[in-house]
C-alpha cells in the first residue's frame, strides 16, 4: 500500500521532503478516513507561500500523530465540516488567514478579525431565530466581571436558550505572525504571554520544539521542575475554578476560601522563579533558576498545607445538597458530542473521553513518572467541577513525589553530545502538552536557515469554545455563568 500518511511521535521532527504531498482529492479522502476513525484533529492549517494544506491527527490509543500534506487547487479545497464538525473552526481560520476557500463550508464566519478582515468586529452576521416571542440577548465585549472580552449572542424564547453564538477576536495581537517575522529574542516572551495564565503550558511546548529541533537534551532534574511547575499551574487554576463555580451558585464560603488558596498556589510558583505565573522559569535547554534544597523543602510544606485547606473548603461545597443539585443535569456536553467536536481537557474527561497528553503522548518527565488520569461520565457542570477536584489531589501527590526525587537527583545539566547549533532545516514538528485547560498543540515548520517559517499555536480553548456554545442549547439562560465557568476558556489563547 502506498505510504501516504506520515506517522510521527510527539516532539519528533520530520523533514518536509519525507511527507508525501497529496492531490486535493486524495488529501480530503485520507483526512476524512482518519476523522471517521474518531482521531482528534489537533492541527489543520495552510502554508500560504507554498499553497499547501497540513493536517495533524492524534491517535491517543497508540500515541501516534498522523501528518497529511496536500496541494490547493486554484485557491480552493473541499470542506470536511459537513461530515466532521470538529474541522469547522480550522477551516474558517484557514480562510481568514490565507483566503483559500473551503468549498462546502456552511458558514465562513470570521474568527479573529485581523486588520485586513472585510468584517468589522461586533457586526458579523449572527445566526438568528425568527418568531413572535423570540428575544436576542447580547453580552460583551465588556462583561460584568473582571474577565477578558468576548461577545455572546443568545437566541432565547423565555428563559430557554435555543442557540448561543460566541464571537471572539477582541484580544487579537497577531502573535503567530510576530514569531515568524520578528527578531528571535522576543519569541519566548511572546509565547509566555500567549495565554497569560497558561505560561508554563505554552512555554513547555515551545521550548520542547526548539530542543528537539536542535537535539538539545534537557536534564532529568530540569524536566522534573518543569513538570512540577505545570502541575502547580494546574492546581492553582482548578482551585480558582472551584471557588468561582461556588461563587456563581451563591455559595460564598467556598468561593472566599478557594480564592485565597489559589493565591497561595500562585505564590508557590513564585517560589521557583519570582513570578506568580511562572514567567522566566522555562527556558530553551532547561529552567531559568537554580532550585535549592531549601526551596524544595519550603514548597513541600506549603503544598501539603494548600491541599489540606483546599479539601476542607471544597468539601463544604460538594457536601451541600443544594449546590450539588444546582450543578447536576445542567449544561451537558455528552460523550458523543465531545468526540464529534474534538473537545479536550477536563471538559472532555468529564464526559467520558479518557484523553490526557501526559499519559497518551508522554513528554518530558511524564515519560519516566506517569500520572493517573481523572475522569467521569455524563459531562454536566457537576462532573466538570468534580474532575478538577480530583485533578488537584492527583497533581499534589505527583508534585510531592517528584520533589523527593529532585532532592536526590543530580542537578547538573546532562551534556548533549550531538547538540546542533541551528535548528533542523525544512522540517515539521508537533509538540503536545497537557495544559490545565487541556491539550496544547504547537506546530512549527522551519525554513532553509532553520528559522520558523510557520508557527501555529492551538490553545485548548481553540478546540473547546464551540463545545461551550453547544452545552448551552436548551438550557436556562441563567445557567450560562455556571457553564462558562465550568469550561473556563481563554479568550486571548483563542485570539492570539
Amino acid at each position: 500500500m502506498k505510504k501516504i500518511i506520515t506517522t510521527i511521535h510527539n516532539n519528533e521532527p520530520i523533514p518536509l521532503n519525507k511527507i508525501p504531498v497529496l492531490n486535493p482529492g486524495e488529501f480530503t479522502e485520507e483526512l476524512g478516513a482518519l476523522l471517521s476513525s474518531k482521531y482528534h484533529l489537533s492541527a489543520y492549517f495552510a502554508d500560504l507561500q507554498n499553497e499547501l494544506l497540513y493536517a495533524v491527527c492524534s491517535d491517543a490509543e497508540k500515541g501516534l500523530l498522523y501528518v497529511l500534506a496536500g496541494t490547493i487547487d486554484s485557491g480552493q479545497f473541499i470542506s470536511l465540516t459537513p461530515r466532521f464538525p470538529q474541522t469547522q473552526l480550522f477551516e474558517r481560520e484557514i480562510f481568514e488567514e490565507t483566503g483559500f476557500t473551503p468549498v462546502g463550508h456552511p458558514w465562513l464566519k470570521p474568527v479573529r478579525f485581523p486588520p485586513n478582515s472585510k468584517y468589522k468586529i461586533g457586526e458579523p452576521p449572527f445566526f438568528k431565530m425568527e418568531g413572535d416571542e423570540i428575544h436576542e440577548v447580547a453580552v460583551g465585549p465588556v462583561h460584568a466581571g473582571v474577565i477578558e472580552p468576548g461577545h455572546f449572542r443568545f437566541q432565547c424564547h423565555g428563559e430557554k436558550v435555543y442557540h448561543l453564538e460566541i464571537s471572539l477576536g477582541y484580544q487579537h495581537r497577531g502573535i503567530e505572525k510576530k514569531i515568524v517575522s520578528g527578531s528571535n529574542k522576543k519569541n519566548l516572551y511572546l509565547i509566555e504571554t500567549a495565554a497569560g495564565d497558561t505560561t508554563i503550558g505554552h512555554t513547555t511546548a515551545y521550548t520542547q520544539i526548539l530542543e528537539y529541533l536542535t537535539n538539545n537534551k534537557v536534564s532529568i532534574s530540569d524536566n522534573i521542575v518543569r513538570s512540577v511547575a505545570l502541575e502547580l499551574e494546574r492546581c492553582a487554576n482548578h482551585v480558582g475554578d472551584i471557588g468561582a463555580l461556588a461563587g456563581d451558585a451563591g455559595f460564598l464560603p467556598t468561593h472566599a476560601f478557594c480564592g485565597r488558596i489559589r493565591g497561595d498556589f500562585l505564590n508557590m510558583t513564585a517560589l521557583l522563579c519570582g513570578n506568580r505565573f511562572g514567567r522566566g522559569l522555562i527556558v530553551p535547554g532547561g529552567i531559568g533558576y537554580q532550585i535549592s534544597d531549601s526551596i524544595i523543602e519550603n514548597l513541600s510544606v506549603k503544598i501539603k498545607k494548600g491541599l489540606k485547606e483546599f479539601l476542607d473548603a471544597s468539601k463544604l461545597m460538594f457536601d451541600n445538597p443544594s449546590i450539588v443539585a444546582r450543578f447536576q443535569s445542567i449544561d451537558k456536553l455528552n460523550l458523543e458530542s465531545s468526540i464529534d467536536l474534538g473537545i479536550v481537557g477536563p471538559a472532555a474527561r468529564a464526559a467520558g473521553i479518557t484523553r490526557d497528553i501526559r499519559q497518551d503522548f508522554a513528554y518530558g518527565n511524564y515519560r519516566f513518572s506517569s500520572i493517573p488520569v481523572s475522569g467521569h461520565i455524563r459531562g454536566n457542570v457537576y462532573e466538570r467541577a468534580y474532575v478538577r477536584w480530583l485533578e488537584v489531589q492527583v497533581s499534589v501527590k505527583y508534585i510531592l513525589d517528584q520533589l523527593k526525587k529532585l532532592n536526590n537527583s543530580d542537578k547538573t545539566s546532562e551534556k548533549s553530545d550531538n547538540k546542533e547549533l541551528r535548528p533542523k532545516k525544512n522540517s515539521l514538528i508537533v509538540s503536545l502538552v497537557e495544559g490545565w485547560r487541556g491539550q496544547i498543540c504547537h506546530t512549527a515548520i522551519t525554513d532553509n536557515e532553520g528559522n520558523f517559517r510557520k508557527y501555529k499555536i492551538y490553545d485548548p480553548s481553540f478546540y473547546n469554545w464551540f463545545g461551550l456554545a453547544q452545552a448551552l442549547r436548551n438550557q436556562q439562560i441563567s445557567d450560562f455563568p455556571l457553564c462558562n465557568k465550568s469550561f473556563n476558556l481563554s479568550y486571548c489563547g483563542h485570539d492570539l
Binding site: V142, E148, K185, A195, G196, P253
Partner: protein, 253 residues
Amino acid sequence: MLKILKTRINQGYKTYNFPKKLPAMADFFKGLPQINSDNCGSCTLCIEECPVSAIEKLDGTISIDIGKCIFCNKCADICPENSIVFTKEFSLSTTEREKLLTNNVETFIKEREFKAEELGLFKKSFNIRVVSAGGCGACEADINVLNTLTFDLSRFGIHYVASPRHADGMIITGPVTKNMELAVKKVYQAIPSPKVVIAVGACAISGGLYADSCENYNGISDLIPVDLFIPGCPPNPYTILDGLLRLIGKIKS
C-alpha cells in the same frame, strides 16, 4: 451551618494587614531596578538583549523604562559587571510617565508625586470599571485576586463595578487591540466626570511586548490621558494595591 463555621475556624483569619505591615516578597522577586553605570564603558549588551528595548544610555548612565520593562532579568543576567540588580522594592507606581525611566530606587521613590489632594474625593469610596483590552489574562488575574481574603480590597472602600455609569475610574490592561478600541472609548465616555484612568501592566503603559504592531496600539495613552501607571508583567498584587492606595491618598508618600 455549623460545618461552615467549623471550616471558617480551620481556615483562620488570613487578611494581611497591608499597608501597616509590609509583605515579604519571594526570593527571586524582581522589583525596582538599581543600576550602577560606573563600569559600563562602551558596552551595550543590555540594550541589545532587552526584548522590549526598555534600556537607554544617556551621558554614560544606563536607565530602564519600567513602563516597557517585562522584568525578565535578561539585562541583569547578561551584564558582565553585574551592574543591574532588580531589588525587592514592589512599590512601582507613578502618575507621571517620564518618572518611569529610572536607575535608582531611592531617587524614584523620592521624586514621584501623587495627586492625592485633587483626588481626595475618592479617598473613602472608589469604584473602578476594569476593562481588558488585549491583556493576556495575568494582569486581569492579579487585579481580580485583590478581591480575595488576603488583600480584601473592599476594606479600603475600593470596588470593581459592572457598569461604567457607577464607576469613578477605569483600569485598563493590555495594549488596547484595534478590535477593542470602540469598546474602550465607549466605556470611558460612559464614566461620569470626574474620572480617573489607570494603566496596569507593561502592555497598557507602553504596548510592552506588543508595541509597534498593526493589531494594537501602544497602550492606553495613545487614546486617552492616564492618571496612574502601575508597571509589571504582571505587576504583583501588592504593587497594584500599593498604587491604588497611593492614588487615592490612603498611603501618604
